[in-house]
């Protein structure tokens, strides 16, 4: 590989001068020299050795992308097209900025600490961590970090780019209400974080005209598929009476649609269904799923922009940045 030294020799100048033009400390170098060196640099296709760069003051320009375990639905986190698109977009934009992305397994927090230290990573974008994991990590590692979709118990104490869960839930609730589904049920696998905020929005919308939406309409189902399906079986009469089900994820919504299909129950004639996320499969199932869309690329963009701000030493105006969300009406709700 060709070194700074070599370039310097070709140009008949010192390494200092070459380094200066590479790093744009160009005010104290003659235009002539700049041009000569630039030409040689281009011609030789010189690339600096990052080991040296790291060692001599400059940052690594590495952004660590931490893949938290998120074995939801028995999948690896990157198997989720959502996570994939997010990571893919981060990769593209990171490279455009002259940075690099290193993938880091987040399951073991010490592993994250070690890798981030070893490589002197400049910042971290963290997927699939909960608040406690964030705390444990930040106690051991002093790096700029942006969380994605992490929900705190109380107020935000860390920068987070999330979906506007409340608003999405509200939009779903309002829509179902307007179609006469005043008794719609909300179904999720947990009763906190994302799910809870979506429920809160849903509930709020249902109560808009002065009615009361009781907590009993928030159905929490098991995380394990087998048990979940059994639960659907038990709840079937109640579901049919409610006539509309707002699921907190597309995955569960589609699974439930299949459950009903297998039972010979027609959607949306006998029961209306909504999802959340607008995964690419929401429009591939039949009937097409009415759901809430979020702009994943926008989210990746915002996350990276915030991280860059932190890296540049700026402060964020707001800790919790919400990525906007809108309802996509398709065919799984009877009009």
């Amino acid at each position: 590989m060709i070194r700074l030294q070599d370039i310097a020799e070709m140009a008949g100048v010192s390494r200092t001068t070459v380094s200066n033009v590479i790093n744009g400390n160009t005010k104290r170098v003659s235009q002539e020299t700049i041009d000569k060196i630039t030409a040689i640099l281009k011609e030789q296709n010189y690339v600096p050795h990052m080991g040296s760069v790291m060692l001599s003051g400059h940052g690594s320009r590495i952004i660590g992308v931490v893949l938290g375990f998120h074995y939801a639905h028995g999948m690896q986190s990157l198997q989720d097209p959502f996570v994939g698109e997010l990571v893919g977009t981060i990769q593209m934009e990171t490279e455009e900025k002259g940075y690099y992305v290193m993938l880091i397994g987040g399951e073991n927090i010490q592993n994250v600490v070690d890798i981030a230290s070893k490589w002197n990573v400049e910042g971290l974008i963290i997927l699939g961590y909960n608040e406690e994991q964030y705390r444990r990590l930040s106690r051991k590692l002093n790096k700029k970090m942006i969380m994605i979709d992490t929900y705190p118990e109380g107020a935000y104490t860390f920068p987070n780019v999330g979906v506007d869960d409340y608003s999405g839930g509200y939009q779903i609730g309002e829509y179902l209400y307007s179609r006469g589904y005043e008794k719609a049920l909300f179904v999720a696998e947990t009763d906190k974080d994302t799910d809870y905020y979506r429920w809160m929005g849903f509930k709020q919308a249902m109560e808009k005209r002065g009615k009361f939406c009781s907590r009993s309409r928030y159905i929490v189902v098991p995380g394990e598929k087998h048990l979940r399906l059994r639960k659907y079986g038990e709840l079937l009469p109640r579901f049919l009476e409610a006539r509309a089900l707002a699921f907190s994820s597309d995955y569960d919504a589609i699974e439930a649609m299949n459950f009903f299909f297998d039972k010979g129950i027609r959607i949306p004639d006998q029961i209306s269904i909504t999802g959340y996320d607008d995964s690419i499969y929401a429009s591939m199932v039949r009937p097409k799923l009415t759901t809430v869309h979020q702009d994943v690329r926008q989210k990746a963009h915002v996350a990276l922009k915030c991280l860059m701000k932190l890296i540049q030493g700026e402060r964020l105006e707001e800790l919790n940045i919400k990525s906007p969300v809108y309802l996509v009406k398709r065919d799984s709700v009877r009009e």
Copy 2:
């Protein structure tokens, strides 16, 4: 951050000695010293600075994962759950081996060359490149590389981990034949590489009992969704007459199922459909899609194992490693 130097001082030895125990050059160090240093290392949670390590002879231990453009179906490459699972598995296994994964955008070949050189990457796993792109890259970059699913015009001149396309096509063909679909059509977006091998397997199976399977049964449809659907419209009579369609991808199969559904044509009663890949959505659509499954994790595992061999200076026994494949019978073919 804590340095080798600091550890040496704590232990009252030289940096050399500490370095020796870290790197396992332990034969020339007394057990006592080893123990003392090891304890301090652990206690201080020392991690070496990779910049220095890279600079002083050792490799970077970075594996570059190149994301070739594969804007199939208008998606980013990582948006494909397949690619996601592959990359996710590579990440996990790479870390287990004490290596690191850097994501590299492959669209611009010079970009791959630059990043791989800058970081002195030890090896590359390359997704979504065709043979020509491989050639252009390898001409400029002398690194160990493993391709994934790349098909050469003639013989393999590069190490590749692929699916056993031929076998999958054969299994599909044989199955359809055995169910009486002797005139089934094969549908793909291209007439080469993956698609072509699958067709060859399909054709072979159809011809097993001495019949002839004409090339005209290989239907090539447009890559653009809009045009593809129009084409399906035109071909509808022929499709209905053939009574079975073997698609070269789950995506297209599912899309076609929806097309038929929207036209009121019943699957599998009026027409049987098969896919290829067994993406996680193959079993989420109704009827569940009969398709060919490949073990993605196994594939990632094999790819990494081969790359490690190359890095260790060994040779590969075979250039084209095929990941095995089997038929998954579900509900989209009438029994």
